[in-house]
Structure formats: structure tokens, C-alpha cells
């Protein structure tokens, strides 16, 4: 198992190098001079030249890329933000807790609602509950989050005045953004649980379990659910990874100062080090979440555990 984890971590290196290279290339060829974006309209030409020299923006592309990687590897330094002058890592670490909390809440809501709904829908296929759940799942899946977010704000913040419409510093303020962000995940988890359960319920071993007189709750809860969970766990993992990489729209609507907003602002202001650092950070988080999900399989499915050894 340890060997497997180690191998996976080593495999991260080419992935990150690839990501770094892609981002670097894309930003390099994006129009707009970072020196002018940073120093502003009014900057004198000397100031621009000085900045370009100091930041190595005049070096050839590969030299710039090499320098970046070297600093990151040798000193753990992924640059300083052009706009705030603080280290990029520090900026990301200030924003990340917000995103982490937001994603975790959204994911918990998605799991608490999605999995039970999926299971019930599968057991009572074509019942009224199933139909309604599937309609809601469809709505949740197709409703754009910025629209849902605004509706939630209008209803809960403006009409009822129960919850604040923006910010993320109190528990109350976290409810609306988490729910808005969770909507899509709830729908996906519900649909995935349902279809996966439906597949498993028809399997021979379930028939066997029922035939031997096992209680229905155990048949469903143990025999069926555990086998049906693998794709759901994958989905949850992917979703969580995605949420962590910054729910840009949700964070913008509810003014949550998370990674998503940080990235948008960085892109808007041509803050190259910030964008590069941010994307790298997201790539790392995504990979780690994926790794954790793979490890989780082993606990859910003994067959995979055996393979890993």
C-alpha cells in the first residue's frame, strides 16, 4: 500500500511539470504586457523597462520557464503577487480555507441528501418519490449556479431576511453559498447513486441474499449499497476536487474571498505569478483528492485492496 502511495506521489511530478508548462505557455502568449498591467496606465517608460528587467520578462521563454521551475523546486518560491507584493503561496493559503470550508459544506450537503435520495429512488423505481426526485435532480443539474444563487439571495436574504446575502465569516453566511454550490452535486450524486443501485439490485448475489431470507434492510444497506458505492465515491471525489479548485461563480456572487475569486482577480489584473501559482496549487489539490479517492476504494472494495498489494 505504502509503495502504491509513493508511486502515485512520484507520478505527480510529471503531471505538475506538464501543468506548469501549459499555464506558463498560455500566459506567455496571452496579449497584454504584465508590466503595464502592474504599473498602471500612468507608469513611465523607464519604470516599465525597469520592471521588465527586474522580473526577467525580457528573457527568452524557456529561460523564464526554467527559472520559475528552479525557484519553485529549490526554494519553494512560486513568486510574489504583482498586485499585493505578497508571496503567492501566502495569498493562496489565505484564500484556501474559505474555499475548503465552502466545498466541504457543499459536499456534505450533497452526500447527506444525494445518497439517501438515490437509494430510495432506486428501491422504489418509478414511484412518485422517484419521479419527483428525478425532476428535482434534473432541475438542479441544469440550473446555472449564478441564477440559483440570485434566487436564493432574493428569497432568503431580501424577502425573508433570514440569512445574509454575502460574505463568509459567520455560519449563517455560509449557508446560502454552500447550498447554491451543492445543488449540482446533489443532483449528480442522486442520479449516480440511483443508477448504480439499480444495476446492483438486479445482480444475482442480491437475489441470493434475498433467497436466503436476509432482512431487506441488510440486503440493501450492506450487500447492495457497498457494491453500488464505487462509482458514487469516484463522482464525489471528482466533484470535491472540482469544488476545491474554486467555485468561481458561487464565490463571486456571494463575495466569498476564496481561491476562485483570487484567481479571477489575478487573471483580470494580469498577475502572472498569482495565476501560475494558483493553477499549480489547484493541480496539486486535485491530484491529492484523486489519490485519496483511490485509496478510499480499497476500503470500500476488498478486490481493489488485493490488487494494490
Amino acid at each position: 500500500m505504502l509503495k502504491y502511495i509513493l508511486r502515485r506521489i512520484i507520478m505527480l511530478i510529471p503531471v505538475l511539470l506538464g501543468v506548469a508548462f501549459c499555464v506558463f505557455t498560455l500566459l506567455y502568449f496571452t496579449p497584454g504586457d504584465p508590466a503595464r498591467m502592474v504599473l498602471g496606465d500612468l507608469a513611465t517608460d523607464e519604470a516599465i523597462k525597469e520592471f521588465r528587467d527586474k522580473e526577467g520578462l525580457n528573457d527568452p521563454f524557456l529561460v523564464q520557464f526554467g527559472n520559475y521551475i528552479w525557484k519553485a523546486v529549490a526554494h519553494g518560491d512560486i513568486g510574489r503577487s504583482y498586485s499585493s507584493k505578497r508571496p503567492v503561496m501566502q495569498e493562496i493559503l489565505t484564500a484556501f480555507p474559505y474555499t475548503l470550508k465552502l466545498s466541504a459544506f457543499a459536499m456534505i450537503i450533497a452526500i447527506i441528501i444525494g445518497i439517501p435520495c438515490g437509494i430510495i429512488s432506486a428501491i422504489k423505481q418509478y414511484s412518485w418519490f422517484d419521479t419527483i426526485t428525478m425532476i428535482f435532480a434534473m432541475i438542479g443539474l441544469s440550473m446555472p449556479v449564478f441564477w440559483l444563487g440570485l434566487l436564493l439571495i432574493l428569497f432568503f436574504a431580501v424577502r425573508l431576511r433570514w440569512l445574509p446575502s454575502s460574505g463568509f465569516s459567520t455560519f449563517k453566511a455560509m449557508i446560502l453559498p454552500s447550498v447554491a454550490l451543492a445543488a449540482q452535486s446533489i443532483s449528480m450524486v442522486t442520479r449516480m447513486t440511483r443508477s448504480s443501485m439499480l444495476e446492483v439490485i438486479r445482480a444475482d448475489y442480491i437475489r441470493t441474499a434475498r433467497a436466503k431470507g436476509q432482512k431487506e434492510s441488510i440486503v440493501i444497506g450492506v450487500h447492495a449499497l457497498r457494491n453500488a458505492l464505487i462509482p458514487v465515491v469516484t463522482l464525489c471525489g471528482l466533484q470535491f476536487g472540482q469544488l476545491l479548485s474554486g467555485a468561481i461563480l458561487t464565490e463571486s456572487i456571494f463575495a466569498v474571498p476564496g481561491v476562485g475569486r483570487l484567481m479571477v482577480n489575478a487573471i483580470m489584473s494580469r498577475d502572472y505569478p498569482m495565476v501560475q501559482g494558483g493553477v499549480l496549487f489547484i493541480a496539486v489539490t486535485f491530484s491529492i483528492v484523486n489519490l485519496l479517492v483511490d485509496l478510499l476504494y480499497a476500503y470500500i472494495d476488498p478486490r481493489i485492496k488485493a490488487e494494490l498489494k
Binding site: 504586457d33 513611465t44 525597469e50 507584493k85 463568509f168 449563517k172 449557508i175
Partner: protein
């Protein structure tokens, strides 16, 4: 199920009760963006200028009408036209308890000319050095005559920092600011809000409330909602679509003021046919600029008539007649220039701001009436600036705002030959001369005459067509008193109090 719903209802009730009003000793303000740094020379943007203005003081303060009043400098005299003697206020304390002296002033202003101040070099570049006469007197020496420099001291760059603290903090200073202002730094959750607290040893009138929280809420609708629900007391800026909602709400007050900014359509005057002044005038005659402005901004702002905004001193904006559309005049001018408008074809460029695209669209339609074919190209800001810098463009829409209340800044940055933001490529020795002359004169009638002549000359040359002069609009809760929106957009909360 029943039990669950009872718990659910109880939870909702608890949530709705929690966080009801506390005694009003906190002013909560919603701004569009967060500050980028709290180092006064490390930026040149409005949200940051606003944040710095609470923590720091400048040597001179700016009144809403654009005149100056004493700040950290009690009085001043102009020894020559390049040397300003400033008498500093005595007994002014920094937030760390140290007294502010001439050494801090020298350090603060000279620091702007180091690489750390690259954002604001345009203001500070003519500063030669600051001479310390004694602890409370300094002489500011300039490299060359530049009267607008004195006005620029009210800009964020003129804020006085504590030498000792800045030197000790190094690169991290922007996160741990120490000034002499009415509020001291307490906490900053980047991207979300910053919290300042009243500085009880402030030399001037102390703030009437204890805590100032400024939240950054980029979505305009959200700012309005927070204002409506009472979660914030002042929301700024208010966009056109939100105006009616605030106006109709009896709990809220709308404050509006015209600001010194100009949105214009510039010609690349080095490119045919725009190198012909008659063609520029002909195009102007084709456009109904007054109604374009009205249609797009729906009652906010006005159509400028001069490049120096109406609220800036020496502006002759209000003395000039409004522009009216006249297709016949346009045709005549085209004929005089020997240009057949039906053969004209060019590109109107803009960044992605909706109002600019809207204006460009109407402009396109009005030009099409005489057969001029235009294409509107919109680009993301960085790419747009890049194109303008290459100076190959035809016609473009852009804005220009003044953070320093001197007419020189309204013209020099846009039309002086060597200005980095001169995208019309206007290169006119006569205007350059006028600008130098304007800068070399102290305020008074002679200076006013220079700028009057300059404005008429620019309108005659017409390197750009003026489209819009914006307003600063803030939504304020009725219980908030003593706040007045600042036409220079650096709003002060020094005098704010609550009336419940």
C-alpha cells in the same frame, strides 16, 4: 418526519434571531473591490486609495470643491516656483505612539521615487528632494517648475508613513500599516473585508464611531441587497440599474456627484483620414452625442463639452454650448476635406465595458446614415491596451479619470506628445507649449486664461469626441449622517455618526 420538521423550524427560527442589531458603534461600508495593499505608494487604484485615506494623512487635504486646506502641514509658502516650504503640525502621533516629524515627511515623499513607488512615479517624478529645516519644517525641492505637483500631494502617494516602521517591515509593510490617520489598522481578511479602529490620539476631530469595516462586494446587486437588508450602511459604487431601487426605498438615501472623468472616442490622428481635422469635425457633426449619452447612461452623468471636466478648476465646460447633430454640416465638411463618406471604412475599438459597446453601437448606426462602414471590435482590457500601444488603430473608446484636481492632469496624460497614455497620437507643439506654461504658473487669472485657451484649441483640433462624464453614486442608510460622497471618489468617514 414531524419531529424533524419541528427541529428544522426551530433551527430556522434560531438563525433568524441570531445576529440582530447591536448598539451602533460600527460603520459597515461595501466597496467594489478590496484594497491591494495598505502601502500608500504601492498602488494607483481607488479602493486602495480609499483604504489608505483612513489610515494616513496627507500634508494638504482636498475639499470637495477641489480647493486645498491644511492637513499635516499647518501652512505653506512657495519660496520660489520650485521650492515649497511646509510648516508641519506639532504633536501629531502615529498609531504606534511616535511623533510625526520632518524626517518622516522626507522619508515618505522621497520613497515614492524609489522602485517601490513605480505605480505613482507620474506624480512624484518631478520631486528632487525634501530638505529638513528643523523637526517641524521641510522644504520640498522640485526638479522643475510644476504647480500641479502641489495638488498631487493630496493623492494617496502623499500620505505620510512612519519611517521607523516602514524600514523595519521591509517588503511586508503593506500588511501592517502605521499612519497618523483617524483610524488605525486592526485586521484584514484579504478579499473579504478590512477592519480599522478609531485612533483615540488623533490630532484632528476624532471619529464618532469605534469600528470601521469595509467589505469588498464586487457584484453591484449584492451591494444593494446588503444595503437594503441593513447589513451595510454605505454602499459604493451604485450602478445605473440599481438607482431606482435605492431611490424608492424610504430607508435609503442616494448621493450623487459628478466626478472629474471623461469617456471619449479618440481618433488616431496620424492615420488617414483622421489626420484631417475636417474629417474629425465631420464625424463629430454626425453624432448625436448628447442623446447617445442619455440613452446609454439613463440620466446618470452628462455629455462633456470640454476635455477638462466641469468640476475641475478652469473648466469652461459649462460656458460652451451643447453639441447638436447636423448631418448637413457633416456632408459639407466631408466635401471640403475631399473625402466621400460612403468610401470610409474603419474599426471602432473598445474594451468589454457594456456601456462603451452600447455607445459604439449607436455611433456605428449614426455613421452608417451617410454610408460610413464601421466594425466594432471589443477586446479584453490587456489585449486592448496592447493594440492601442501599437498605434495602428483607427478609432477607440476609452476613459480618463482625475485623482488629482488639477486641469493639467486632465490634458497632459492624453494629449502631450510623450505621454504613455496618448493613444490619439496627438503631437502638437502648440499644445505642448501651453501645457508647460500652465504648469509653470501659480493659480490665478493668468493660469485660468492658459487653460481656457487650451480647451478651445483642443475643441478646435478635436483629437477626440467627448461622450460621457460620470458620477460618483453612493447608497446610504438614512440613519447614517455626516457622510458626503467625494467627487474624487476617496470618501471620508471622519464625520459620520448615527441617528436612530
Amino acid at each position: 418526519m414531524k419531529k424533524f420538521s419541528i427541529i428544522f423550524l426551530a433551527l430556522i427560527l434560531a438563525l433568524s434571531l441570531a445576529g440582530t442589531s447591536l448598539a451602533k458603534d460600527t460603520l459597515v461600508v461595501a466597496d467594489q473591490y478590496d484594497a491591494t495593499t495598505l502601502d500608500p505608494i504601492g498602488h494607483n487604484d481607488y479602493p486602495t486609495s480609499r483604504a489608505c485615506s483612513h489610515i494616513y494623512d496627507t500634508l494638504v487635504f482636498l475639499n470637495h470643491d477641489g480647493t486645498l486646506r491644511p492637513g499635516l502641514a499647518e501652512k505653506w509658502e512657495f519660496l520660489t516656483d520650485k521650492d515649497y516650504k511646509m510648516y508641519l503640525r506639532k504633536g501629531v502621533k502615529f498609531h504606534n505612539g511616535d511623533e510625526m516629524t520632518a524626517a518622516d515627511v522626507k522619508f515618505s515623499l522621497e520613497r515614492a521615487n524609489t522602485p517601490a513607488g513605480s505605480h505613482i512615479h507620474t506624480y512624484s517624478q518631478d520631486l528632487d528632494n525634501v530638505e529638513i529645516v528643523d523637526d517641524y519644517t521641510v522644504i520640498i525641492h522640485l526638479k522643475k517648475v510644476n504647480y500641479p505637483f502641489f495638488s498631487s500631494l493630496v493623492h494617496s502617494w502623499g500620505n505620510i508613513v512612519c519611517k521607523k516602521v516602514v524600514e523595519a517591515a521591509g517588503d511586508d509593510y503593506g500588511m501592517n500599516p502605521v499612519g497618523t490617520g483617524p483610524f488605525k489598522f486592526k485586521e484584514w481578511a484579504k478579499g473579504d473585508h478590512y477592519t480599522f479602529e478609531r485612533f483615540d490620539d488623533y490630532w484632528g476631530e476624532k471619529a464618532k464611531f469605534k469600528t470601521l469595516i469595509v467589505r469588498s462586494i464586487p457584484e453591484p446587486t449584492n451591494r444593494t441587497i446588503e444595503l437594503e437588508t441593513g447589513a451595510v450602511d454605505i454602499a459604493y459604487p451604485v450602478t445605473t440599474i440599481e438607482l431606482a431601487r435605492i431611490e424608492e426605498n424610504p430607508e435609503l438615501v442616494l448621493q450623487r456627484k459628478v466626478i472629474p472623468s471623461t469617456t471619449y472616442m479618440g481618433f488616431n490622428v496620424h492615420k488617414a483620414p483622421f489626420d484631417n481635422v475636417k474629417v474629425r469635425h465631420a464625424i463629430h457633426a454626425l453624432l448625436d452625442t448628447v442623446n447617445i449619452q442619455r440613452a446609454v447612461f439613463r440620466g446618470v452623468g452628462q455629455t462633456p463639452r470640454s476635455l477638462i471636466p466641469a468640476v475641475t478648476k478652469y473648466s469652461i465646460n459649462d460656458d460652451l454650448p451643447a453639441h447638436t447633430r447636423n448631418v448637413e454640416t457633416a456632408k459639407k465638411l466631408f466635401a471640403e476635406a475631399g473625402v466621400n463618406p460612403a468610401t470610409l471604412k474603419f474599426i471602432i475599438r473598445s474594451n468589454e465595458r457594456k456601456e462603451r459597446i452600447d455607445m459604439a453601437t449607436i455611433i456605428q448606426a449614426q455613421l452608417a446614415e451617410v454610408g460610413i462602414q464601421t466594425e466594432i471590435v471589443q477586446q479584453e482590457w490587456g489585449a486592448y491596451l496592447n493594440v492601442l500601444q501599437q498605434k495602428q488603430h483607427d478609432v477607440f473608446l476609452l476613459g480618463w479619470g482625475l485623482s488629482v484636481p488639477d486641469p493639467d492632469y486632465a490634458v497632459a496624460g492624453l494629449l502631450e506628445s510623450n505621454a504613455g497614455t496618448n493613444y490619439t497620437t496627438f503631437d502638437d507643439p502648440k499644445l505642448n507649449e501651453m501645457l508647460v506654461k500652465g504648469r509653470s504658473l501659480p493659480d490665478g487669472e493668468e493660469r485660468a486664461a492658459v487653460y481656457k485657451e487650451m480647451q478651445l484649441y483642443i475643441n478646435e483640433q478635436l483629437p477626440m469626441i467627448y461622450l460621457h462624464n460620470d458620477e460618483a453614486i453612493a447608497g446610504v442608510r438614512k440613519i447614517v449622517k455626516g457622510f458626503e460622497v467625494d467627487p474624487f471618489e476617496v470618501h471620508s468617514f471622519r464625520g459620520v455618526y448615527f441617528e436612530e
